[in-house]
């Protein structure tokens, strides 16, 4: 019984973890290139959720087809925030960029509150379910997982097979080196910030395929915190590390629930959160480069 439940939870965890991983890639990309922690991360996920919701409800666009629109909107938002705020703070203390990204998130939340009210919304897009006996997987979830994996692979190919991607990788390794090689570092910053935001908004679309309800302007906060843990699992500066970090995170969150549930007197769900943050600290201390990377 417990074993069945545990395997069901772990499978669900991997699927959810894949989407979480995708939702963290943008954060890691931005940190990797600009060394800026986007504290307003969750708000961009929220924007993606509203993009999917609005396109579906107003124009009947199926959520997967909202991905390109989300990418465009996200990149545009990224450019706007980069050139109006982030760019001038790159050389300043951490404090300034932390507060600025947080404020960007607040602006988005408040604008969305004015546009959509603070009511929790949702949409209904049923594709059927896959019943495995020990657990049930709706097709929409599988599609979201597949989409996340695909985007992860595309990002990888872009980084490794295109000139633009390789230029960005140079900047991750060393600003100075990239400058010497004739790469316009400032433009790479702008581009990666905007791609990072674009990916995050896209992940918001995919997340609604997973959970199409409860969409509200303040939904992002808990995703920001999760993304921090996942990013650290993946090494903070590595977008695909983040993807695998997501998988690990999903496994741990869902797996540890079953274990904590065996201990009387505990609230297992809250303990899983405690566990994930405790893990964050341990990893930061022992393996700040993430779980996957050697050295």
């Amino acid at each position: 019984m417990i074993f069945e439940q545990l395997s069901g939870n772990l499978l669900q965890g991997v699927i959810l973890g894949g989407v979480y991983g995708m939702a963290t890639m943008g954060l890691s990309l931005i940190f990797g290139v600009l060394k800026v922690v986007n504290v307003g991360h969750g708000a961009f996920i929220m924007v993606g959720a509203y993009v999917a919701l609005t396109l579906f409800q107003t124009f009947g666009v199926a959520p997967p087809l909202a991905v390109p629109a989300a990418m465009v909107i996200g990149m545009a938002l990224g450019m706007v925030f980069y050139y109006s705020a982030i760019r001038k703070l790159l050389k300043g203390p951490e404090l300034a960029s932390l507060l600025a990204t947080f404020s960007c998130g607040v602006i988005l939340e408040e604008v969305c509150k004015q546009l959509f009210t603070s009511e929790a919304r949702g949409y209904n897009w049923e594709l059927g379910k896959l019943d495995l006996g020990f657990t049930v997987l709706p097709h929409a979830k599988l599609l979201a997982f597949g989409g996340s994996a695909l985007i992860g692979i595309l990002l990888y190919l872009w980084f490794h097979k295109t000139r633009a991607g390789m230029a960005m990788r140079c900047v991750v390794e060393s600003d100075e080196g990239a400058r010497v090689c004739g790469i316009d570092v400032d433009w790479e910053y702008a581009l990666s910030f905007s791609i990072g935001i674009g990916l995050t908004v896209v992940s918001g679309v995919l997340l609604t395929m997973f959970i199409p309800v409860g969409i509200n302007p303040y939904m992002g906060g808990s995703y920001t915190l999760k993304a921090f843990v996942i990013a650290v699992l993946g090494g903070l500066a590595s977008p695909y590390g983040a993807f695998f970090g997501g998988l690990v995170f999903g496994l741990i969150e869902n797996g540890s629930y079953t274990l904590f549930a065996q201990i009387p007197g505990l609230e297992p769900f809250a303990m899983t959160r405690f566990f994930s943050f405790a893990m964050l600290l341990v990893i930061l201390l022992l393996r700040p480069t993430g779980l996957l990377k050697a050295k």
Binding site: K35, V39, S84, E94, A96, L98, S103, F228, L280
Partner: protein
Amino acid sequence: MMNGYRAYLPILPVAATYALLLGIGVVSPDHWQLIAQLAFYCALGQAFNLFMGMTGYVDFGYVAFLGIGTYGMAVSIYTLSDKGLGIGVVLIGLVLAAIFSLGLSLAVGAVALRLRGAYFAIATIGVNEGFRYLLEGARIWNGADGIIFSRHLRQGVGRQTAMALSTWWADILVFGVAFLAAVLTLVYMRNKVGYALLALREDEDAAKVMGINVTRYKIIAFITSAILAGLLGASAWALKLTYVYPSDVFAIHYTVEAIIIVLLGGAGTLLGPIFGALTYGAAKYFLAIVLPGFQLLIFAPVIIAIIVLFPDGTVGLLKKRLRDTPLGKFII
């Protein structure tokens, strides 16, 4: 000291500001709660600045110290109010708040202070959230139910005293914390601690080579700042509001407010947090009255504009400008 009292002159504007605030509150008791809220922001800014401003380390989980301080006071009143200690429960509460925040800061410091920059910020967020969910998950101190102890306070000290504690003495304590934080900031600045912190803020590796035991000084600042936060939580959140929910007192939003206050005024300055707190507190209060529901929409872009245009903060800027004028010795 060679400079003697002159080095401590900048405490005068601080004392004057707090005296003025208190004076307004006493003359016009109608505005006491507003004054109290401003004092809370002053204390929050001063206490946060003592670590963040002086070391440059951004503790994004700072609110955890306020939270655990709140619990210190709550636990004391909740469990000891029927022991006939009278007002003693409040004193024990303050001591517990200090001990709890000291303990937590030692634990956090041992782990997180090994990290730098963004890693430190993320680790401290992790501490705050992790601690909150530990309380909820393991049902420590009633877990998510929190502690509601209004009745206990009243039973312990009597109805009139309880009311006076919540609506007057709690706020006086907040003033006390704010002033104590300012005094400690200045004392640190004028002593070796301050120079060590200045050096490590600028260049931690060079500071080590100069013979500075950076870990030691970081922990001194961290603990001082944490204990002040614990006392602040015990007075402004526990004694004043007489209840505590974990979701309320571990809310990351208060850390952000502390950052805003310090940044508005100027990180690492003595007067900056006060100026930041008064501007922020007053603006927030009036916006809530004039444009209810739109405060954040107005605040967020203004904050971005301020950090882009005045990265040193207002007092930081003044300090630079006034360095060579007679006023310079007051403005630090």
